[in-house]
């Protein structure tokens, strides 16, 4: 294992985060806080509680997940797309590193950044909304698992994309709608039966449901199913990354 290489890539990527602190951490924390103010404090006080949870508190796990998804994907996709775009990827390709080490470096840094953002959002939310966490260890577990899984997914997008346009395409056209319709703002049993079934094909539903369970002990779907689906997606991403490096897809001619 080339530990020095993992560390070099990780440090390099984290340095980018610190350099662009306002944009990479400040802006997602701020924009999520706006949701807390509008939906939590302002509108939330007029809404009925869902499953016995105040609306303001109900939306917190969903909003954190939502930010975590988009942040993980954009961090990781940009992290690997940019060196491909600028040509500096030659160095990583010519270095004595295996794909595991490359992924640990890039995805590890992207996931770390998402985790920091997630935790900061939770801390900020405390100022606007009163919430509690029933299973803090599970909560952190879901946070970490989601960060890693969707950073991997972002990594794949960053390798697949051959233009800045495509880099934005999937997050904008696929992930954002799925996240919005994934039950951030409502419980899925508030939907008509038909749409409840459709929703079950949305992977984000499982993430948010599991995450919300770790806060309040109530969930739309069974926690074990949530965990299983997230792990399944993780394995799918790992498999894809493995294939990418085996074939050199979009990395080597």
């Amino acid at each position: 294992m080339n530990i020095y290489a993992i560390r070099a890539i990780y440090k390099f990527e984290m340095a980018r985060t610190w350099r662009t602190l306002l944009q990479s951490i400040g802006s997602p924390v701020l924009s999520t806080s706006l949701y807390f103010i509008v939906f939590g404090s302002a509108i939330g006080s007029r809404m009925v509680a869902i499953n016995g949870i105040d609306y303001g508190a109900f939306i917190i796990p969903g909003l954190v997940m939502f930010t975590l998804l988009t942040q993980s994907i954009s961090n990781a996709s940009f992290g690997i797309y940019f060196p491909r775009f600028s040509g500096t990827i030659y160095e990583v390709l010519s270095a004595p590193v295996s794909f595991v080490e490359i992924v640990l470096g890039y995805v590890g840094a992207a996931a770390t950044k998402s985790l920091i953002v997630g935790v900061l959002i939770l801390i900020t939310a405390r100022w606007f909304v009163d919430y509690h966490i029933l299973h803090p260890v599970w909560m952190l577990g879901f946070l970490a698992l989601t960060s890693v899984t969707f950073s991997l997914f972002g990594f794949i997008i960053g390798i697949w994309a051959d233009s800045f346009e495509k880099l934005q395409l999937i997050p904008l056209m696929v992930v954002t709608p799925l996240a919005f319709l994934g039950g951030s703002f409502y419980s899925i049993d508030m939907l008509p039966p038909f749409w409840q079934t459709v929703t079950l094909f949305n992977p984000v539903v499982y993430l948010i449901s599991g995450f919300r369970w770790s806060f309040y002990g109530v969930a739309d779907v069974n926690v074990a199913v949530s965990l299983g689906m997230t792990l399944l997606f993780l394995v799918l991403c790992l498999g894809t990354v493995w294939w990418i490096f085996k074939t050199g897809y979009r990395m080597k001619s």
Binding site: A15, G87, T88, Y90, E91, P96, S98, S253
Partner: protein, 312 residues
Amino acid sequence: MHPVIAIRNLSKVYEGGFQALNNIHLEIQRGEIFALLGPNGAGKTTLISIICGIVNPSSGEVLAAGHDVVREFRAARSIIGLVPQELSTDAFESVWNTVAFSRGLFGKPRNDAHIEKVLRDLSLWDKRNQRIMELSGGMKRRVLIAKALAHEPDILFLDEPTAGVDVELRRDMWNMVRELRSRGVTIILTTHYIEEAEEMADRIGVINKGEIVVVEEKKALMQTLGKKRLTLYLQNPLESIPEALTGYPLELSDGGDTLTFTFDASRGRTGIGELLRKLNQQGIDFSDLHSRESSLEEIFVNLVHETDNRAR
């Protein structure tokens, strides 16, 4: 002694079917400076990229210090440094950080003293805290060299190192190359400038259209393939070469003012005496003459022409 790089039956067909390399055999000896000389598009960068792991070979194998560059990529790549042809650098990082990054990436523990030495040798020390985007093109090229040397490679590839580089950097670079060689580092450089190969290399491999045309010691190459040229400055211009002289390899230029005779210097009978007698018989006078060895450039052009003709 085992070659430090052994290339066998190496071919590369790019997606889309273009054959960039065709059955390359090449051995590079430890500690030599080897110049890979060829016109643009000959396949130099492709060959280097395969050795360094950036491009997948279609068939054949490459060993670096006995390690297969695909199967034992870790052992092979950790002793290789590459300065790419393109100026691909980071933008926002400092010089120091990007060079330290390279060392870590190649699996070496932190060593500030070594990085300092590399930066000083390349006149980058004063610029160590500057962001790379603030540097000139020549300075960026130096940064790329520093990155390649950060992990103390045994084999250094320089892909078109002096393309678009100023005189000062060129001189620094050649000093550095000589110093590296004196420490036992093998250096492989590609170029389409003949003078560069002539100036620097111990051995030269000529590549054209994906094939190695010849590999020779530089001196031997210039001797065996070298022709001499005798130039005669005529008193009265000629309209064409007289019929009596058509059997000779003669060329008329400068509007008929100069006549050039090419001959093989390695042969005992050069035919000069005979030619001069014939000129005398034809009443062709000349005011001056001189002879010289053909340059590597002419050798190169001839070789490339030969292979192009054979291909046709």
